[in-house]
Structures are given as C-alpha cells and as structure tokens.
C-alpha cells in the first residue's frame, strides 16, 4: 500500500533538457550513484556507464578500481592517471599475439616500466598487476617490489626481459613494511577524534607533529628514487594522509592481508634466468596462496621451496618446474593436501615400491584438487599414481606429457568430471575416442602437436579423432586442434554435434592443404562453423581456403570477435567480406594471404571499432599503408621493416586505435606512418 499517493515531481530527461537546466539527468544523488557503481565489475559495462552523461562519467571514474587495458599503446600512463584516481588492480597486455611465434623482432616494445613508474606515483595502494606479452625488466620488478605496501598478486604471462634479480626483489619485499606510514595515520586518526571532542590543544599538538615531519623531509633534501616509497610517504602531513585514506578506503590495521598472496609466471620463454629468487622469501612470510613457476627452467633450492610450502598454510595453487623430481614432489604434497591446483615436476625417476605407494597415497589425500598439470616425461609405469586424485578433477593439462593412447585411455577412465583437457597428439585418434567415451562433461579440448615441424613423421590426430570427441562430448565449446588432415564432411558433422562452439581454432598444419578425401578447399567446413555456431567468438582457419570461406564468415559470424587467418583466401574480396560483415570484430590477424591495399583500405572506420589488425607477408605496400594513415589519423599504422625486403613492400603491418598518438618508444625498425 502506498502511503504517499501523490508521486513527487521527478524530472524526466526531456524536462531537464527543455528546462535548459545545466544539471544533467541525475535524480540519483552522487553518493548513491557511486555506491551502486562500485558494484559494477565488468569493464565493458563500466565503459557504457561512463558514456551516459558527465555525472555518470565522473561517478564511474571515481569508483573504478580494476583497470583493463587490452593494448598498452592504445592509451598512455598519463591519460590513465588523469582519469582514474583509485585503481587497485591492473591487467595490461602488450605485444600482438603473433609475437608468441617469433614473428616480432626482439626489442619491439611493450615495456612495462613507464606504467610501473606511473602506478608508483598515482596508485600507491595497488594490489594486483597482471601482465601479458610485455617486456618486464628487473628494474621494473624492483620498483614494483618496493613501491606498493599493499601489493598482493603478480602475474606474468608470456613476458620477457626479467631475470633472477627481478624475481629476487619481489620475493625479498613480499611483506610490507608500513610502520612509519602507520604512525602518521594514527596521528591523523587521533587528530580527528580530538576535533570531534573539541580538544583543540590535542589537535594543535598533532598538527605540530605532522608539520615537523614535513619540515624534516624538506630539510633532508630532494627525494631520491632510491628511498622506498613508504618512508617518503611517512613524511607527508597527517591530514593529507588521512584524507587519502578515507578516499581510498584502505584499512591499515589488517596486517595479514597486506602481503603477497600470488606469484604466477606462465608461458615464459626458454631462457634460463636462474633460480635463486625462491630462496629470498623471508622466513616469516606465510601468506602465499598461489605459486606458479612451472615455465621457468632453472633449478630452485628445494629446501627453500619445502620450507615455504610448509609454512604457507593457505597455499592452494602450486605449480613447480621440471627441476623438482618425484621424491621431492612427494615431500611437498604431504605438506599441502589442501591444494586445489597442482603442477608436478618431472615424473622421470626410478622409485622404490615403497616410494610409489607413498606417492599414490598422497595423491589420494587431495580432497579438493581440481586441476593437475606438469607431468613431464611421465611414463605408463608411474602415471597410475595420480589416479587417486582424478575423480574430482575438472582440468587436466597433459600438454607436457607425450602419452600413448593405451595409458591415456586408462587414465581417462578415472576422470569422469573433466571439463577442460589439454593433451599432445601422441595419444592419436584412439586416445580421442576414449575422451569421447569417458568425459561426457567436457567443454574444452586442446590437442598440441608433438612434432610440429614433421621431423619424425608421426601420425598425430585426424578428422576421426575430432569426430569421436564431438559424438561423446556434446557440451564442447572450446577447441584448439592441430592435425595433419581434415575433411569438410567431418567438420560439418562436428558442429552439428556441438553447435555451441564459442572458440573454434583448427590448425591443419600443412599450409593450404585441401580436404584429403575430396581434394576440395575447406570452405564448406568453415561455412558450417560460421552458420551453425551462432555463439562463435573466436575462429582460426586453416587449410586450402578461397574467398568463399570469408563470404560465409562475413555473412553468418555475427558474434565473431577474433579471427586468425593464414595461407588462405584468393583475393581482396575475402578480407573485405569479413570487414564488412562481422560487426563485433575486435582482433584480426592475417599472415601470408593475397590481400592487398584495396582490402586494407576497405576497413577505415572499422579499425577504430577494433582493438587491432595484424597483416604480415600479404600484398601491402608502403603507399597503401601511408594512405590508410593519412585517412585515419586516430589510428597508429606501424610497419615493421625487414632487412631483406625491399622498401616499397610493407611486410609486417600493425594497425591499432589509440588516443595516445604515435608511439614515443618505437625502435628504429618500427615506422609509424
């Protein structure tokens, strides 16, 4: 029952505009708006929110705490610092994806240092930093380690440029040393209480202390970058500090929450950077929850690792590298039965029957394990030790283990709840048949080639393996499949069985290879994918393909966001169809295709709605790229010069939208047009 029958006169957007009022449409008070917006997490939603009106733009920028930047050159640290004052976690991506496959020269860029320098100045309360495909120097890691007292999580995925020294710094400074800062905060709090009690004498005394601190700092001379950020901040006036504290809503009294909880290094290069860093964690450091150094090659001190695992009772993710053997693994996992994700070390070691038994028991003791990886050089002899942990497994990563179909099938019989499976093609089609029959809940399958350059002429997997999986795993929606032969008919059936594909990445390893039964191009296959899989977000095509494939993609793949094309297409028309047809396209990467300037120039405004375009070994010329650059000043059109190619060809072209203008840090072989 409405006690108030008369509704208040709420200003409508139209009335606000027609009244010529300077207030934008805001019947919601700022504090309420900010409170509501602080609950909005997705950065896409937040970007939409910020476009509503100036009030909402401001409310959004004050409440955003998670920053996501998909291309570090699309914006500059200065611009970010001006817009967002309260960032606590950052996800930053750098190089284009093809850099993973050695297609970008060394020293191309994506140096994280200017970002870390800005974060240190503007976001001293930063808690998380997640980087992908960026160059991270030891200096940056050292600055990171010393500048953020609240720092909790560092994740480096496909990054390079750092060594043992940098990780050393992270480990050494994993516990925050906030004491001088705390002091000033306490003084500020006392001062505020004194004001509330109208105790002016106390207030003045507090003010004297804070002022004298400021004087002391100015007498000591200019702040040098070598002093830690923390001691510098402690010299600030307490009123300034307290106001910042209120603004940023940070509680200094929660000691345990202030230390490092996550160190996650993935897909690192093969350089041996050294393993001394692990020994640098202080003896009283206990807060680690996630430790992943599986992709680092160097040997670490096992004693230090064992002690670390034993004292970090909250550890839930532990992924060690190949240098840890089975005996050592056993010692680690008895200390951490609470793990939810385990990455083992090398599985190649001769065990006594007693050791085997102990290992079996330890794996059975995992009550909460969901993900298993590592398993380097595992053989059929020792694979069964993990069976006890498989019942609850949802993610099994065997991409480092060259299993044969027999032992693989036996293993799968123990893993009925798998959602995600990564495997090497040594398991062959027979192994994939076992996947189809044992893992009905499977959603994601990745099959990697053991012999990508065909040096040993292994059989690998084919169309029949993929078919078998699609028959048994109807919930499959993510596939990455490397094979040596495929047919159109198989793919058509596969997508009929599994129409919910969101990610379809098929790599027929011989460039431009047709359907091996009909000798036709693979157009029909990808047409079926585009037509049937209405939720398709990511597509990688391969095999012999004409423009027809791209006509179909442009016509049907309305949700497509990422497209990777190699050795495909017949003419400019192919690329044009995609650019005209796929409204949600964000990333387009093309190599070795007969697309030229006409195709490139059919994009224009489209590129401003995309994150980036990569084209290499196509038919682009410098003239075409310069024309694009002239017509679209808000795009960065970069050509990477190859020493061997002649000056009129544009061999590697990278186009992306940016509000920061051309790169300031481009190396001499990157030309911005």
């Amino acid at each position: 029952m409405d006690p108030n029958p008369k509704k208040p006169n709420i200003p409508t957007p139209d009335s606000a505009i027609s009244n010529g009022s300077t207030h934008s449409y805001s019947l919601v008070p700022d504090e309420v708006l900010e409170k509501v917006l602080s609950l909005v997490d997705s950065h896409k939603d937040r970007n939409s929110v910020s476009l509503v009106c100036k009030n909402w733009y401001n409310a959004e920028r004050w409440t955003r705490t998670n920053l996501f930047i998909g291309n570090c050159y699309s914006v500059s640290p200065e611009i970010v610092a001006r817009r967002f004052p309260r960032i606590k976690s950052v996800r930053l991506k750098g190089k284009p994806r093809f850099s993973d496959f050695n297609m970008l020269p060394r020293d191309w860029g994506a140096d994280v240092n200017p970002w870390v320098v800005m974060f240190a100045k503007v976001y001293p309360f930063l808690e998380e930093l997640r980087l992908k495909r960026m160059t991270v120097s030891d200096e940056s890691l050292e600055l990171l380690a010393k500048s953020f007292p609240d720092f909790k999580a560092l994740s480096l995925s496909s990054c390079d440029g750092f060594s043992d020294d940098g990780l050393n710094a992270i480990a050494t400074h994993c516990m925050s040393d906030l004491f001088p800062f705390e002091e000033s905060v306490e003084v500020a709090q006392i001062m505020v209480e004194a004001v509330a009690d109208c105790n002016s004498e106390f207030v003045l005394r507090c003010r004297e202390i804070s002022v004298s601190n400021v004087k002391a700092s100015s007498e000591e001379g200019r702040y040098s970058t070598e002093k830690s950020m923390v001691s510098f901040l402690s010299r600030f006036s307490t009123s300034w500090t307290y106001s910042k504290v209120v603004l940023l809503d940070v509680s200094f009294l929660e000691h345990e929450k202030r230390n490092l909880t996550e160190l996650n290094i993935q897909d690192n290069g093969t350089e041996d950077i050294g393993g001394g860093w692990l020994s640098c964690f202080p003896d009283n450091f206990v807060s680690l929850q996630v430790l992943n150094f599986a992709s680092l090659n160097s040997e670490v001190s096992f004693e230090a690792l064992e002690r670390l695992v034993s004292r970090c009772k909250s550890l839930r993710v532990l992924k060690v590298n190949e240098s840890v053997n089975l005996e050592q693994l056993q010692r680690l996992i008895v200390l951490a039965p609470q793990l939810t994700e385990l990455g083992t070390g090398s599985f190649m070691q001769e065990l006594t029957p007693r050791q085997y038994e102990d290992l079996e028991i330890s794996f059975r003791n995992f009550k909460d394990i969901q993900a298993l990886s590592g398993l380097w050089e595992v053989t059929s002899l020792y694979l069964p030790v993990i069976y006890g942990a498989c019942a609850g497994l949802t993610f099994l990563n065997l991409s480092e283990a060259a299993l044969q179909s027999v032992e693989f099938s036996k293993l799968l019989a123990h893993c009925p709840n798998l959602l995600r499976l990564w495997v090497v093609d040594t398991v062959e089609d027979k192994g994939l048949e076992a996947v189809g029959s044992s893992c009905p809940l499977l959603e994601e399958l990745r099959v990697f080639p053991a012999d990508p350059y065909d040096r040993h002429h292994r059989h690998g997997v084919t169309d029949s393996g993929f078919l078998a999986v699609s028959h048994g795993c109807r919930k499959l929606h993510y596939v990455l499949y490397f094979c040596r032969r495929m047919t159109n008919a198989a793919v058509v059936t596969i997508v009929q069985n599994c129409p919910d594909f969101t990610h379809f990445r098929l790599c027929i390893m011989n460039p431009g290879q047709p359907d091996y039964i009909t000798n036709e191009p693979m157009d029909e296959a990808f047409a079926a994918v585009a037509k049937t899989c209405t939720k398709l977000q990511r597509l990688s095509v391969s095999g012999l393909l004409t423009d027809l494939t791209f006509e179909y993609i442009g016509k049907y793949a309305k949700n497509l966001e990422t497209l990777s094309v190699a050795f495909a297409g017949s003419s400019d028309r192919g690329m044009q169809c995609v650019l005209e047809g796929c409204p949600k396209l964000r990333k387009l990467e093309i190599r070795d295709c007969p697309f030229g300037n006409a195709a490139l120039l059919s994009g224009l405004e489209k590129y401003e709605r995309m994150r980036s375009l990569w084209m290499s070994a196509c038919n682009l010329t410098m003239k075409g790229c310069m024309l694009l650059a002239r017509k679209m000043p808000r795009l960065n059109v970069e050509v990477i010069k190859d020493e061997e190619s002649d000056d009129s060809q544009a061999d590697k072209v990278y186009v992306y939208r940016s509000i920061a203008g051309p790169r300031q840090d481009a190396p001499p072989f990157v030309l911005t047009l």
């Binding site: 020269p105 060394r106 390893m509 050795f567």
Partner: protein, 190 residues
C-alpha cells in the same frame, strides 16, 4: 659474412628443388629466424670445423626435410621437439657444469642444444652477463677479460674453440669461464 653460415647455405639449395604442396608464391624460408636481427658475427672467426649439420628427416623415407616457415605452425617455441617417444640413451642431453671465476654458484647447460661454438658462447654470455672477445687460433680470445675454457676427458684445461665442435662436445666434462691473467696464459700455444 662468408664462411660463417656456409652449412646453412647448402641446406637452402636443396630446398629450392623440393616439390611441395602449398600455395604458389608461399613465402618459405629455410632457416628458422630467431628474434635477433640477422647480424652475422662480423669479425669473429670462430673455428667452424664441423658445426653439426642440421638433422635430416627420417632416413627410411629419404625425404628431404620440410622447409620450416617462421612462426608456423603457431606453437610456442618451447613446444618444439619436446616429445620423442623413442628417446634412447644417446638422445639425452650432455649436461656439463659451468663455473665462472668470481661467481658464487655454478650453472649447468646441455651441450646438445647448441649447434656450434657461436651459439654456445652467446648462451654463456647471456647467462653470466659478460662478453667474450674475438677468437683466433693463434691468440685465443682477444678483447675481453674472460676466456671460456673446459676440462676434457684427460683432466686437462683446454681453450674452447680449438677442436671441431663434435669432438668438443664428446670430450668436454665441465666448462670454466676464466678471468684475467690466467686466461691470457692459455691462449699462447704450447
């Protein structure tokens, strides 16, 4: 510069006559480019007596090895050649300890990973962060404080680079990066 990559040049010529299934005009380069700009080691005349030739394909089929296209298939480099189910004893790596005068702890490297002296020396340079001078048969390593030496089967300390590569990896027991005057003494022939 001539002489440096001769082995690779011969490999290239074989490829020109190979029949391939692929689009005409497909860009193929036989040598896997690494990320570094192609800068032949001008000035360095490291003895290339017997750099190991690139391995050919399966001897049974006598098929010339497929030319490797840069970045294709799109797999990360660490996935290369990791899986040979028929790995026999002889295929496991040749691990030797590497010590450097003045460094607190040793490192270990697999000599099988490198195809010749230049790769090995580059790897050592980057691992220990120093530069090696120019090698010549007469004077050893000129132009830097450091010289790479190794202990051979007989226990003798030898200068790296004097013997053919294959002979080196089969006789090398451990590596030592020597510094200063000690190093210079080695270079002056017996």
């Amino acid at each position: 510069m001539e002489g440096v990559f001769k082995g690779d040049e011969n490999y290239l010529n074989l490829e020109a006559t190979e029949l391939r299934l692929g689009l005409p005009g497909t860009n193929e380069s036989s040598v896997t480019k690494n990320n570094k700009r192609a800068s032949p080691e001008s000035g360095k005349k490291i003895g290339f007596n017997g750099d190991s030739a690139p391995k050919s394909g399966d001897p049974v089929t006598a098929q010339p090895p497929k030319a490797q296209i840069v970045g294709w298939p799109p797999v990360r480099s660490y996935r290369e050649n990791n899986f040979h189910p028929n790995k026999s004893e002889s295929e496991t790596g040749i691990y030797v300890k590497v010590s450097m005068d003045g460094a607190p702890y040793l490192r270990k490297i697999d000599l099988k990973v490198y195809s010749g002296y230049s790769e090995l020396l580059k790897a050592l340079e980057s691992m220990f962060k120093f530069t090696i001078g120019e090698y010549s048969e007469r004077e050893g390593y000129n132009g830097s404080e450091y010289a790479p030496a190794y202990e051979d089967k007989d226990g003798d300390l030898m200068l790296v680079g004097d013997v053919p590569w294959e002979m080196f990896i089969s006789s090398c027991k451990r590596l030592r990066i020597m510094m200063g005057s000690e190093a210079r003494g080695l270079g002056w022939g017996a």
